[in-house]
Amino acid sequence: MSPDSVSVTLLQLYPEELGVAGDRGNVLALKSRLEHAGVEVTVVEHRIGDSLPTDVDLVLVGNGPLSAMRNVYDDLFSIGDHLRAYRSIDVPLFAYGSGAELLGHSIALPDGSTLDGLGILPFRAERVTERAVGYISVDTPFGRIVGFEDNASRWILDPESKPLGILEVGSGNSAGSVEGVLDAGAIGTQLGGPALPLNPLLTDALIGFIATRRGFDYRPSDVNATVDRYATLAREVILANAKHVFSRI
């Protein structure tokens, strides 16, 4: 099927509360590449109290402080079955930071308490005292991705689950030399920047998941040449600076 006759819906959860790290940029990158490929895009922003659309092609959730996580918590649990239903029909997922943690099994907090997650992503998180801040580079099945990490979390993957990639620079999951979690078409990561504008190959991988599920042919458009060039050069500078610039933070 040609992409021209296709319309897709991107669902972003809690864009204000879980969107403090430029998470809109991830939506923007996906929307731009899909539209350049001739796909019509609708972005649905889910806020507390909203009802969810039935047909969704990708779910995105981003990062926010603990207070914001607590704020959306009840609403998130009220839509939990809905989100699980999306995953049961292979709707892809891109989750960053604390938004991803809420979709994992649980989050152990510094005060000794535990916040239950929805259990959609196969890992649990522990908040730790040492903060990981700086550029990060990860070798993934889709290629090398780079970005900025800023968290005080350790991610412990389920025994059989796979990381998003092998860590090249940075702290990643702070458990093993790996970063994130990859579960079929669901990605959880602590690689920000935001990740998708900086790494068109990851954006293309997510669009590939959408295309496979919806049965259309996706080929990145030549219209992306300028942003791709900027992204390539941005990544080169990040890699060159990754090892030394933030030693003083």
Partner: protein, 434 residues
Amino acid sequence: MSKSNGFQYFVPVLAGKVVRAAAKIRGGGSAFPGYVTTSLAPNFLRDVTGQFRYGIVYVLGSNGKSTTTHMLTEVLRGHGLRVFTNPSGANLPQGIASSILAESTVFGRLDADIGVLEVDEAFALEFARTVPPSTVLILNTQVDQLYRFYETERVADMMLDTAQQASKHIVTNREDPYLSKIARRFADGDATSGPDISYFGASDAVIAGSPHGLFNATDYRDAGIEAGQHVALAELTDTDRAGATIAVRGEPVDVVLPAKGLHYAIDAAAALATAAIILGDDFSAGSAAAAFAAMKPAYGRGELLAFGNEMVEFVMFKNAASLQLNLDALPEPPEQVLFAIDEGTPDISWIYDIDFSALDHVDVITGAKAWQIALCLELNGVRIGTVEPDLKTAIDLMRAMPRPASGMKTWIVNYEIMMLARKQIGFLELENQR
């Protein structure tokens, strides 16, 4: 002072001053002299600043500390007070100690009626044990430097905790969701037994007229709690490019702003509220307005500097809020624009939260983050001239462009690039040397 002759400070202060002189010869400022004196005489700072008739004012906030410190200082001077203040940007304890040392005699005296200090929010509470504030002004809580503060509410708490150390007055922002709830921290719902609490703010009409509001952080922790209705001691009721009208105790004061933008107008309201509560009946609207009329911008904040036969307008930002409010303050898309961020701002993911519609193009993007900025602007449909990561080459490109009709080139820069760019175009003095 415990021993009023001050002789106990002769050696420690002299030692500090000698170190300071040596540091100056070597070139560059240093926080070390302050360290030398305070380790030899731990009570030095408390005793020197304890002599001030009106005590010490702390200026805290995510944004606008330097500008507001400067405004408050000038307004108080306009009322005839001798004001000690720290150079803008030198807001860490050792830097403040060094500037107090530089101004004091070897007998530990500093001739001033009041001290106005901008203090880094992370160090303010600790510093309050050494130099107790009589007045604490908190400007705002914005999502800022998360790599350093982790969570915005932590910064809010640091500032609120510090405010509770004030012996006389707390002045804070009625429009800030975190700060406007400060009265809850006092047992009787008000600080009647401790410092009094005053507010500055902006009228509903002013806030409604701003494209992106005031950009203060949302309080998710106490989202369900109403801040209550507070009357603002100083309320911004109108603002345009050149100035602002601020009602102080209901009386309108027309002020000329040293730099344009709603955030500068609110900073002015903060300065006026603080001056009014400190001076009481001695506060004069006329003296305050005269002080604003004579004021220059704080270093690098909206400054106009000569660039050949043209002018450069520096638009400096350090986080999403200050960038957005500065963009919102542009009356029309500027003719010639340089946009620069370097590694001094480690995480710039928030640039995807900025509405860039105030710019129709950017001529030159520079700094180590140049390609990341270009990527964001391209995705947002902002036309880009050249991307040149090297600052010096980028400035040469701006120089080579024809003279704009306005005679003014707009450089939108982070703090570190502002410092480097000033130097590149021949303004050699560092911030803490002014």
